[in-house]
């Protein structure tokens, strides 16, 4: 054992970055881009932690993982123990380590962030989760005493999985209902293989199954079962159906062949595996073609990089604001650039043009940034008379999702906000229907995996409280009144 490093020595160390597949190679492969840490790299990185008395990273984590504790265990080489610490707050660490926007959360709060080299918490979380999975560590599958209470979880995306994970560990019977044929929600239909291998999602979900969570596929609540039927058979229901109704641009030509929503393009490739010869679902041939992607979020990056991997010649992300306002993770934008994706900022499509029903090009309106809007970002506004035309064969619209009407249209008694999302009590996730809770994108509108997981966990705690007390009416406090 070497002597522990002094604080000064630790501060001198550079941040360790993960190994990555070469940009030229990965641009044509669906294999995962990030290759993770080696044991040495993980230890070296963990050793940099200054062990703050009041770790700000924990406060920055939406699910409150005891980051300081697990990082210290990694530095000690106790990876199994580190995994247990993470598992207390997060049952899906291999996923979160890969897709969380750490720069705005744990790593953003790290004291070393001021020096631009925060502890690579995401990389370490991923390393720990992968290590115990690959080494075949036994998960803690000790079941607490059964409570005899039953909870239905609608939707098997991040919110539903996190909620189910907490409830099963409290001894309740939990059934997760999924509309598609595979569990995982956006983790399987949206996020591509090269960023989040499906094998990892399956492993995390089978972990939940081992704990006793039941999954029922092809169950569209509101249609296959009504919400009332679920309420009859369960003590509580959690709605985590996500924001699954893609927004379009509402410009002429949007229904030309070649114009996809990001959801459709990604679902065809990820969930339905259109890129494999063995699978039947088709996707339009992009080989040698020009693909444009509208939007600036992670989904836009995913769509652009997917198009590249399918063989597109020229892939452009068209965003109406500037790089500074892009909501995508910094790493995704960097990866996209390295792979050869071109970014055009301050442009907005006004018309899509076609021939014989097929997309051939578009007209772009040039924009400039004006005053800040509600989101605090400067609002893009058109520059009069400044337009441009460009050729394109495929366009992918990645500008977000609205609330999906499938469940909501069948439950008029469920109160909604003016945006059409489900109205809940923010603290508890309680909806206007007794015994029904909601969280994730169906409440907040399109957000991130980890925020949905945080909402799922808060709802689980609140469900717990409701199952215990049986009291639905919340006493009005001056603050909440």
């Amino acid at each position: 054992m070497s002597e522990p490093l002094t604080k000064r020595e630790r501060m001198k160390l550079e941040r360790t970055e993960m190994l990555e597949r070469d940009a030229g190679e990965r641009a044509h492969s669906f294999d995962e881009v990030n290759l993770g840490f080696t044991a040495e790299m993980a230890k070296l990185e963990a050793m940099r932690c200054l062990e703050c008395a009041r770790p700000k990273c924990v406060e920055g984590c939406p699910v409150g993982i005891q980051i300081d504790e697990f990082v210290r265990l990694v530095a000690d080489g106790s990876i199994g123990a580190a995994a247990e610490v993470i598992q207390r707050d997060n049952l899906l660490p291999a996923i979160c380590g890969r897709v969380c926007p750490q720069e705005n959360q744990c790593e953003g709060e790290c004291v070393l962030a001021k020096k631009d080299r925060p502890i690579a918490v995401g990389h370490l979380e991923r390393y720990v989760a992968d290590y115990v999975r690959n080494e075949g560590f036994e998960r803690i599958t000790e079941r607490p005493e059964a409570t005899g209470k039953r909870v239905a979880v609608i939707g098997s995306g991040p919110a539903g999985l996190a909620c189910a994970g907490d409830l099963i560990q409290s001894g309740h019977e939990v059934t997760v209902y999924e509309a598609l044929h595979e569990p995982g929600g956006v983790l399987v239909y949206g996020i591509p293989e090269f960023r989040l291998p499906k094998e990892i999602v399956r492993a995390e979900i089978s972990g939940l199954e081992e704990l006793g969570v039941r999954f029922e596929m092809n169950a569209i609540i509101g249609h296959t079962y009504t919400l009332d039927e679920l309420l009859d058979g369960n003590d509580a229901v959690f709605i985590g159906v996500g924001a699954g109704l893609p927004r379009f641009l509402n410009v002429p030509g949007e229904n030309l062949i070649g114009v996809y929503s990001a959801n459709e393009f990604l679902t065809r490739v990820n969930l339905m595996k259109a890129y494999l010869d063995t699978d039947d679902t088709p996707v339009l041939d992009v080989t040698g073609k020009t693909v444009v992607v509208f939007g600036g979020g992670n989904t836009a990056m995913d769509a652009a990089r997917t198009a590249l991997r399918l063989g597109a010649e020229d892939v452009r992300v068209l965003y109406r604001r500037t790089e500074a306002e892009m909501p995508a993770r910094v790493e995704e934008v960097r990866h996209a650039r390295e792979e050869g994706i071109i970014f055009d900022f301050l442009v907005s499509p006004t018309e899509l043009a076609g021939a014989d029903g097929l997309l051939t090009g578009l007209t772009l309106q040039k924009m400039e940034l004006g005053e800040p809007d509600d989101s605090g970002r400067r609002r893009p506004q058109p520059i009069a008379g400044a337009t441009d035309k460009m050729a394109a064969d495929i366009a992918v619209v990645a500008i977000g999702n609205g609330p999906n009407p499938l469940l909501l249209s069948t439950c008029p008694e469920l109160e909604r906000t003016r945006w059409g999302t489900i109205a809940v009590d923010e603290e508890t996730g309680r909806t206007s229907m007794e015994g029904v809770f909601a969280g994730g994108d169906i409440v907040t509108g399109g957000a991130t995996v980890i925020l949905a997981m945080g909402a799922g966990r808060r709802a689980a705690a609140s469900i717990e409280e409701w199952l215990d007390s049986g009291a639905w009416e919340i006493e009005a406090t001056p603050e909440s009144a």
Partner: protein, 277 residues
């Protein structure tokens, strides 16, 4: 896995399947469809449910083997399974007592028309069912339709059975001879467009059951966009039935051809494989 209880060839390349799907059967209404996946490598396709038996917990589907997926399905027999059946999806048909209703079904579209005929008849309508096929063998469900109390007018393109000619000719004659309050149409896009053009001059409310390409069928992908009265709607959650006088059928026909090349190649490969085995 969803078990096939019964499978029977009812016309050339058209097979009737009775599938165990109790939850779908329990919640299904006329006009709704399921999304089905044949096996773990299969695509997701929408199929309108022709009938549901809540006691038996089964749904009835009619499948015409026109692509790889439907051809694979039609290889299946009673006792085989289908990987996934999800539904019922889409909005139910708007069934009320309109007075006199005409339901037009073309080819396998007759299977889509059948539950609408049954529901309209049960709601007290006088129902005239005009069903067409290429020739006698292609006219589906005639006796089942008659059993609902509907007057059935079978038509064949080649005149081998019933009235000779297209369903629209029978429809025009029916309109000339009767006061018609509503028309429903289900079948190939050109047929539905022709029905809309036949009823338009008479201002008879006309509803078409659209059949665009879908993936999830739950509103999530937007692949099934259709234009109705200039507005873009999703057939899976806003339909599948729309005012036929407002539907852009040209757009629907074009979008349905988006993957034609890939589809015909897949079908050819499958047929070669089936022949050689």
């Amino acid at each position: 896995m969803y078990q096939i209880i019964d499978a029977e060839l009812v016309a050339p390349e058209v097979k009737r399947f009775v599938v165990a799907a109790p939850q779908v059967a329990a919640h299904w209404h006329a006009g709704q469809f399921v999304i089905l996946r044949v096996d773990e490598h299969g695509e997701r396709i929408p199929l309108t449910v022709a009938r549901a038996d809540t006691d038996e917990g089964t749904i009835t589907l009619f499948v015409q083997g026109i692509g790889k997926t439907t051809e694979l399905l039609n290889q299946k027999e009673a006792g085989d399974t289908i990987a996934d059946v999800a539904g019922p999806l889409g909005k139910p048909s708007e069934i009320e007592n309109y007075g006199t209703a005409v339901v037009v079904g073309g080819g396998v579209g007759t299977a889509i028309a059948y539950p609408v005929v049954a529901a309209l008849a049960a709601a007290g309508n006088e129902v005239i069912a005009i069903v067409g096929g290429r020739s006698r063998d292609y006219v589906l469900l005639e006796s089942e339709l008659a059993a609902t109390g509907a007057r059935v007018i079978p038509c064949t393109d080649d005149g081998s059975y019933g009235r000779a000619g297209f369903v629209t000719e029978a429809l025009a004659q029916t309109i000339a001879e009767n006061a018609i309050d509503v028309v429903f149409a289900a079948g190939p896009v050109p047929m539905m467009r022709a029905v809309a053009e036949t009823t338009r001059p008479h201002s008879i409310p006309t509803i078409a059951s659209l059949n665009p390409i879908m993936v999830d069928g739950t509103g999530m992908c937007g692949g099934c966009r259709v234009e109705v009265g200039g507005e873009t709607l999703f057939a899976c959650v806003d339909g599948p039935e729309f005012d036929a006088h407002l539907v852009d059928f040209d757009l629907l026909a074009r979008r349905n051809q988006a993957y034609a090349d890939i589809e015909s190649r897949q079908l050819e490969e499958l047929r070669c494989k089936l022949e050689s085995s």
